[in-house]
Amino acid sequence: MTRLAPLIKPLGAVIAIVGFVLWAHLGSGIARFHSQVKSAPGWDRFRDVYGLDSFGEDSYFVRAAQNGYNLFYFTHRYGWRFTRKTERDAVNSCAACHTPEDMAYAFVNSDRFDPGLGRRLSFEESVMRCYARHMDGFVPTLYDPAVRDLRILARSVAHHLQLGEGARRAGGELIP
């Protein structure tokens, strides 16, 4: 028994790590540990309405668009790292101010000069600014899925609407 004593600590550490990994992947339910995106309410209807299956039923692109959908409608839940808004706030998601079509039109009109800022503004920067300002939160990096997947959602809707660069919305304004 005394010979095994030095092994107890390292063995305990290994068991703890393996236990954590197993829990994270199998029991935690935390989305980032799974290749599947959690299906939020309304997703199936959304994918029908916007023809997401034209990109393949379960493609990488569709999964990213699905994550974008989750972020768009349930920002406080799926983008919690970048917002202080909670379930109790009336405005706690992108969908509180925008529609998916808004995002698509904003996407095809992005990368243009913004007179207010005095410089050209990309779609990604607009999303980052939204997190920081309207969502009372923090700025994700350019490549964070919290930004990328919203762009991909906007792309997929723009594809469904068959928008081209600089497309104008009849009677509508761009995202402020």
């Binding site: 095809v108 050209r120 990328r148 991909i152 594809h159 081209g164 660069e165 600089g166």
Partner: protein, 364 residues
């Protein structure tokens, strides 16, 4: 007090260095802003291209190309002066990435040379006609690496990297692999201006987001598109000397005249790397597709599929820089080969009479 003075001195030095760095950063930012505001001197190719697409500042944009090809005048959102300058700079970058045609290459091309080890690489070599290749009738050519078609299909799954590849990341890969260099920052003007130009092309050609167009990427030629005689290095070497060597040089080092690149290198330190998709050894269907559709200049489409694969195979055996994935040993070996092989090959060719490579096979 005496113990306090050295500490104070150290603090003052640190503060001065940090303050100096901050001032340098401010100066660099101001310089960039100045470049963004400056009028753009277009390359001759860009002048013709952007004039033909009627790029101008205004509240609306109507593409003459769309009017000519469809008979319908479509209205899109116009561009501000700043947007126009970004598009112009992007066009210049694609046409003349290293600024050979610029008066001040570093300033007018956002120091693109910082991100390239070789002197030859320019986007236009692969994305011909400034990323928008058309025939005389204005038809966009199949598999011509069109930048507009590439932009509308950005963010899709990329089989080479296993990523949903954004347009900026794809440009970074070009800098690393095709230009044997380093990746710029995703928000660098260098990338953003090329994106602005590509997006303008989609407006000019009226392409829709997420649609596949035939000019996107290369029209690849897999082995299954041949009679499966097998890709042959010897046949490739022979064809290379017949069809390619007059422009790219007998050893594939390209042609320079008065320090200006006329035809780019396919081998040696100015060439693309082993990691490039153009390297037959990495992806064996891309370069044959590129050759068949775009080479030799003026005789495009004259080579059959097997010949293109043979030439691609031969080119891949020429010494070239290692890619990022190969590691230092392969990099050192490739460097050695790039230094040793050219004189050896040259010597070997002189032993055979020096001109056997231009020997024409008997006509059928």
């Amino acid at each position: 007090m005496t113990a306090f003075l050295p500490k104070l001195l150290r603090l003052a030095v640190i503060a001065s260095v940090l303050g100096g760095l901050y001032l340098v950063a401010l100066h660099k930012h101001a310089e960039r802003d100045e470049t963004r505001q400056a009028a753009v001197a277009l390359t001759p190719g860009c002048k013709a291209k952007l004039e033909s697409y009627a790029l101008h500042a205004g509240s609306d944009y109507r593409s003459p190309y769309v009017l000519r090809t469809t008979g319908v005048s479509k209205q899109a959102r116009g561009y501000t002066e700043e947007d126009v300058r970004a598009i112009q700079r992007g066009c210049n970058l694609v046409d003349d990435t290293q600024g050979q045609l610029a008066r001040d290459a570093a300033r007018e091309r956002w120091n693109a040379g910082r991100f390239m080890r070789g002197r030859h690489a320019s986007c236009d070599h692969c994305h011909q006609n400034i990323g928008d290749k058309q025939d005389a009738a204005g038809q966009r050519l199949v598999g011509s690496n069109g930048l507009a078609a590439s932009w509308v299909m950005a963010d899709m799954y990329d089989r080479f990297t296993g990523l949903l590849l954004p347009y900026e990341l794809r440009q970074m890969q070009c800098y690393i692999n095709s230009s044997n260099g380093f990746k710029p920052n995703a928000a660098d003007d260098l990338l953003r201006d090329v994106t602005a130009y590509s997006r303008f092309l989609t407006a000019a050609l009226d392409l829709k987001i997420g649609n596949h167009y035939a000019e996107q990427g290369t029209d690849e030629i897999p082995a299954s598109a041949t009679l499966r005689r097998g890709d042959d290095y010897v046949r490739g070497a022979h064809l290379y000397k017949q069809k390619c060597a007059r422009c790219h040089g007998p050893q594939g080092f390209g042609t320079e005249v008065n320090g200006k690149v006329i035809y780019p290198a396919l081998a040696g330190p100015n060439s693309f790397t082993l990691d490039s998709r153009m390297n037959f050894g990495r992806v064996n269907s891309v370069i044959p597709g590129f050759i068949c559709r775009n080479m030799p200049l003026g005789e495009e489409g004259s080579l059959d599929n097997q010949s293109c694969r043979d030439i691609g195979f031969y080119i891949s055996t020429l010494p070239r820089p290692a890619g990022d994935k190969q590691g230092p040993l392969v990099a050192a070996w490739q460097r050695l080969m790039m230094a040793v092989m050219p004189p050896l090959t040259q010597y070997a060719e002189t032993l055979g009479g020096g001109n056997h490579h231009v020997h024409q096979p008997p006509e059928d």
